[in-house]
Amino acid sequence: MPAAPKDVLQGTLDLLVLKTLSLGPMHGWGISNRIRQLSADAFQIGQGSLYPALHRLARKGLVSSEWRASENNREAKYYTLTASGAAALGVEIGQWTSFAQKVALVLSATELPA
């Protein structure tokens, strides 16, 4: 992936994390695994970068966390989307879609507007 401005990258990562969690509570490794699967390995983000993002979202109150037993019966920290997280996800998706559409519009232009 080409180098992107940090805040864009960060915002994108936050969006992906929130989207992943909207499918159900998950621990850090699970989130990173799922993003890899869903994006068909397109995002080669260092897996460690996930944790600052998760803590950032937790600080903003968009996700909550608790320790509980994982699928292989080990203690893992599970993150859950909160109500405000779900709301934020909606807003972010809207913004992202509109942004993507505008970019697509520019890219598909064939001549200058009159």
């Binding site: 897996q47 109150g61 080990r74």
Partner: protein, 873 residues
Amino acid sequence: MSFIDSLRTSWRELSNRNAVDDDLEREMRFHLEMESAANRAKGLDAGAARRKALIDFGGVQRHKEEVRDGRALRWFEDLLVDLRYAMRRLAHAPAFALSAVVILSLGIGSASAVAAIVDQLLRRSMPYPEADRIIFATEATDKGEAMLTSWPNFVDWRQRSQSLTQLSAFTTQANEAMVVAGEAIRGTTQQVSADFFSVFGVVPIAGRLILADENRRGGAPVALVSERLWRSQMSAAPLTPQSSVLRQGRRYQIVGVLPGSFSVITHADLWIPARQTPVEVRGAGNYSVVGRLHDNVVIDAGRAELNTIARALKSEYGDASVSKAVVLTSLQDQVVSSARRPLEILLGASRFLLIVAAASIAMLQLARGHSRDRELGVRVSLGAGRVRILRQLLTEQLVLALSGAAGGIAVAAAAILAVRRFGAGLLPRIDELHFDQRVIVGAVVAAIGSVVLFGILPTLRLARTPGKLTAATVRGDNSARSFSLFVGLQSGVAVLLLCGAALLVSSLYRVLTTDLGYNRAGVVAVTVPLTGERYNDMARRISTAEEIRSSLAQLPGAGDVALTSQVPQQRGGNRGPILIAPFGNPDVQSSWASIASIRVVSEKYFDLMGIQRLQGELLRDADGPESRKVVINRALAKKLWPNADPIGRQLRALADPKADTLTVVGVVADAHDWRSAEGAQQEMYLLVQQRPQMAWQMNAVFRPTANVDATMSEARRRIRQIDAEMSPIIRTLDQAMDETIADRQFIGGIVVIFAAVVLLLTIAGVFGMVAYVVQRRTREIAIRIAIGASRREVWFMVQRGVIAAALVGCVAGVIGSLQFSKLLAALLYDVSPNSPAVLGAATVGVMAVIGIAASVPALRAVRIPPLLAMRGE
């Protein structure tokens, strides 16, 4: 998330820092294990699976730091770490830390104490309602010099003025003997006319004010006392009809107590009514006037109106009225103007001291720089960020600054207490000084300011250099330059303050040693009041004075005893214009008339005081009460008859209660009042018998040959025998002189202390700089010596920088002191503020001291063995 939640999270993170870190650790470990397991499932062996997991994760520590960076109070955590580290570092260098804190405390303490004193004395408005509308007025000479106001003129001002209200007159007698509750004390009395207290809206804390009737002639003798006197002498007991004070032989019933905050111009202990009396003549000023501006009247309008009234009075009363001008200022300005000069000097001196203290701290830090560079170099190579290092260094500065501020606050509190205690009476309202939060704020601001100015400079350098340790460390160029700057600064301020101290001290020395025109050595003055009902009979007054004189003359070893209404240096007494013959000729009067004060003396006075007869003859007791002879001093003779022989000339004094035409029979030398800026006061002398009206205060002076202390106490006993209620003030003229120079001594003493501290710091600075140069260049010096450099060359090499810096500083200091001494000029006696001798001596002195301080470490440099060049570190 609400603000409260965010605070709570921050707090939890901060208080459970370890728990949170632990949580993160476990979370990441779980991730890596899961990833390794997944990798193994793809067929990698255990080691490879773990390695791949770690690589994919991308730096566990880095991500942990990122998480921590996200915390809101990260800066605070760092601050705690830095603080701990700074404390530890300072504890490792206790000598440095202690000297830095002590120097800073002294600098900050003195600066903030002086600033608080100046602020409280000069800027704080007076605690009266609409204090800015209170005015202070007196008659003035044509040249605008303030004089005292006569009672008749004051009464006319009050009747005619439209723009001023509540005009009231008062006069102050300092250092009066009085008896309260059976104990003789000395205090200051203000005699005040009606309305005086309403000008200030003051409310007594006990009893009542003086009533209008009591301010009329024949009113009951009543008095108000100060809260201080009430508490110290009367144990703050309730007032009864028996509460009374005895003053000038008269008993006053104490009817009220005024709050401690009340003081007009000077702090008084006793207030009594001023009344119209027959001695109040239009020509003799005795009073100052206060009042209030009417609403909507500006002070200029009030001043203009009073001047118009004064001109009208002058044309109505002609020669009988003294002046045709008035000076009128706000009372606040009047109070402040007398104190401004000395306080500005102290303020300036204390700021210079603070600057030098801060420069010394900076130099201490520079000197520590060597070890610092290495430590920082290690930390940078271990991966510490530049900003992080800068912050840590600044934290260390902050710890120093705050310790200095704390020490400074303690020093300031002690200094304010000391000034209150020892400075009482030297400056107006000094007993109202107190320690307040502004001192604290001032100290903290001064501490941070000085550390920012002088701590950040070296810090920035340190933070910049660690990358390229070698060049800067070995040559030490930067530090040497900063050192030069600070040495220059220190020596400049040292010259400046030393000049100031030298001027003040030599002025005091001149006052004490110069020939003031009389000989005070060994003279004892017994001062007694001769007023009150008992002495209103002039014959009685004269006989009592004579009785005192002869009684004291019988003391063993007393010798001759002379009488005088005022000894030299003592102020007071009638002062007014002199008219000279031919009288009634306005041309002669307006061009020649001059103001003189009248003293009454006995025959032996001039002889006993060593006041020389210059011309003609002196007064003789045998001349008797009807004598028309007068003796004038040289200053008055020169003023009245600059080109003619004064003997046999006639004059009249408006302040003379008898208003006789007098004939000049003799001229005596001036007895200088050294405080007078205009030179010798103009004086005329009459016999006590001629004017007993003016002998309401009498001094018996004599020069005991035997045991002075015993003679003084015996003198007191004899006075009591003559009048049991009389409480004399007995002291030598040397003691009286000490009192007149006390304020100069106070200012001079403080400037001397400041100068001494600055000089010490300069010595330390110069020593430190040369020692630093020698330490840095030890090997170089060894090599130079090894290849044949002479000791002299080495000697000059290590001192060159410091001496050059000090020379530049001294030149700047001399230029600065030319400015500083302008402030001092008003306090100096017989010393030019720009005296080349003083400037030269101070500069040479500072340079000599610097030379000595520099040569001690330089000597060490000269003795560096050349072998050292061959040894490694």
